[in-house]
Symmetry: none
Amino acid sequence: MAAGEQRRTEIVAAAQQAIARQGFEGLRVRDVAALVGINIATLHYHFPTKEALVTGVVQGIVGALDGVLPSGPERDPATVLAEHLTHILTRFEADRDEFVVLNELYARAGRDPELHVTLLANDVAWADWLRAVFEAGRAREQFRADLDPDAAAALVIGFLKSLLVQLDMTPQRSRAAADEILRAVKA
Amino acid sequence: MAAGEQRRTEIVAAAQQAIARQGFEGLRVRDVAALVGINIATLHYHFPTKEALVTGVVQGIVGALDGVLPSGPERDPATVLAEHLTHILTRFEADRDEFVVLNELYARAGRDPELHVTLLANDVAWADWLRAVFEAGRAREQFRADLDPDAAAALVIGFLKSLLVQLDMTPQRSRAAADEILRAVKA
Amino acid sequence: MAAGEQRRTEIVAAAQQAIARQGFEGLRVRDVAALVGINIATLHYHFPTKEALVTGVVQGIVGALDGVLPSGPERDPATVLAEHLTHILTRFEADRDEFVVLNELYARAGRDPELHVTLLANDVAWADWLRAVFEAGRAREQFRADLDPDAAAALVIGFLKSLLVQLDMTPQRSRAAADEILRAVKA
Amino acid sequence: MAAGEQRRTEIVAAAQQAIARQGFEGLRVRDVAALVGINIATLHYHFPTKEALVTGVVQGIVGALDGVLPSGPERDPATVLAEHLTHILTRFEADRDEFVVLNELYARAGRDPELHVTLLANDVAWADWLRAVFEAGRAREQFRADLDPDAAAALVIGFLKSLLVQLDMTPQRSRAAADEILRAVKA
DNA sequence: TATGAATGAGAATTCATTCAT
DNA sequence: GATGAATGAATTCTCATTCAT
């Protein structure tokens, strides 16, 4: 990686950390610069405006979301679902910061049309993928015949998105909830 | 209501509106004052600091959350659950702003211990109530025997909390999801 | 004058002084605030932006230009011309700063269309007035028959505008030049 | 011309252009570098400071002023004057930028003693030359006997210097004014 | 010569808060 | 209760200049 690119990556990482700690509300470019250990003017050399820095963070986060949805279409739906839930929960437990930033981004999307478009695309892709899993599972009679794939996708996504804002959530409860999902869809 | 109390209520309402529009990130006391149509110094007369104003907003929102959970314990659990879901969805559709502010509050709770305590208390009460409903339903064999009441509560709460951040959500989809919940728990 | 208006007048005067000393190039709002003896934020309370302050200065200067052209149409053209020259020269000697700022404004007009329009209107009015004086003088046979009123106006205005940028100009030379004008137009 | 000298010339030309467009007020070394198509550090290699660059521009402009005053003393004064006026007007119409920069320099001279000295020398030489022309013309009885050579020189220089700041000036008017000068001095 | 990266010293502007009236 | 004016402490951003390569 070129030196400049490397530096920009560092800065974005620091900005993510700052947002996770203080929210967008408390994001200060000087804090980000201090976190990286560079002069504030140097930060502005790489990201001309605070807005550009935030865009960098958004791209970083959204980029990290890619690849979350496995594409192997022929696998067992129940297993795919179980693995997906486990994957997200594990990730949540491992890197809570990422979810905090994502949560801030969703809050911001309500006032930032561009961000809304970006995140909406992600949401749609996620819902599409989950729906396909539920349809496949229903077709194989693994899942309930009266399962509404679209509604089920909304429920699963909703639960996973809410992890951060269920203040009484624990790893145990989230695992139990994931198990409950698996039972609830089973034929 | 005394004149002063009346004015304070106006200011809090304006602050909620401002937060719903711009987030905490964009909350400016001068904007709130302008929204009410008073001088900024007058606002500070009623709320000495911005912090006090935010506290006022939190109290307003949390106060509005009370009474959401009906206490009649002897009623039919399936009906209670259905009504609860409908109640929240209706409320969401009617006053989205309230949910936007609440969402901002949850984001803030991660960095504000005092707010965390306040909201956690609400979450716990909500989860307790829902768990009781599920337990009652299971006892009456309305709900699945293998239903985990605590996990189911987490799922329901998660879905309802996520309404705002499911960018592709529509009234139709949310109603369908509520129906799916009712089917999923049924014995 | 209201307190606020008074303060704004003070600030504009200080800004004029600052521009006369340092040019637009060296104009710093903090210096203007210091000159008035107020906090820089107070200056911004009265003039939200530097641009607004400059506009205030322009209005002040242009306002001061009004009334320079006497309107008595029936007076003796040669006398009117002589008095006009004397008036401007006296004013130049008395308040050089005003001319320095005006000169800066003309330099700026080349890049600022709005300012160009404002100053052009002044120039046109001045030229119109002088032309009328020359025409009247020619009609009375005070001035040369082959005098081109428009060209003569351009020459007089040019000389008066150039006072500041003729670095070797002295009160004596400028008075002598004024006398030369009077001789040159005489029949 | 050595490669380095060539590059310095390019840079000075770009700086002149930048000053003509934006004034000293808006002169940015990075803009000049961009105009030349080089890195800002490369510009600083050739001109260590912004001040040095401005000095380069001043030298370029002042250098271009040399040779404006023809030295043939024995020629016909009326013709010399006419040609001088035409020469300057033609030059003004052909390269307005040069006059814009010169105008900026004169504005600056009021605050920059060194620049004042440089430009004053030019002014004095110009006035001396014109005075000599007027004296010669008077001696030959081409010009009016009561013509004050020094005052006439001040008027002519003043008019020529004011071309840029007479916002309603046109090539036609300036030519007519030159003709008026010739008539006004004639015996 | 040339450049990408870095920086110190400002620059305008914002904002919550205060105070005299 | 209400307000215009004032302010200290940031905050983002700019800019000439430097330095390692």
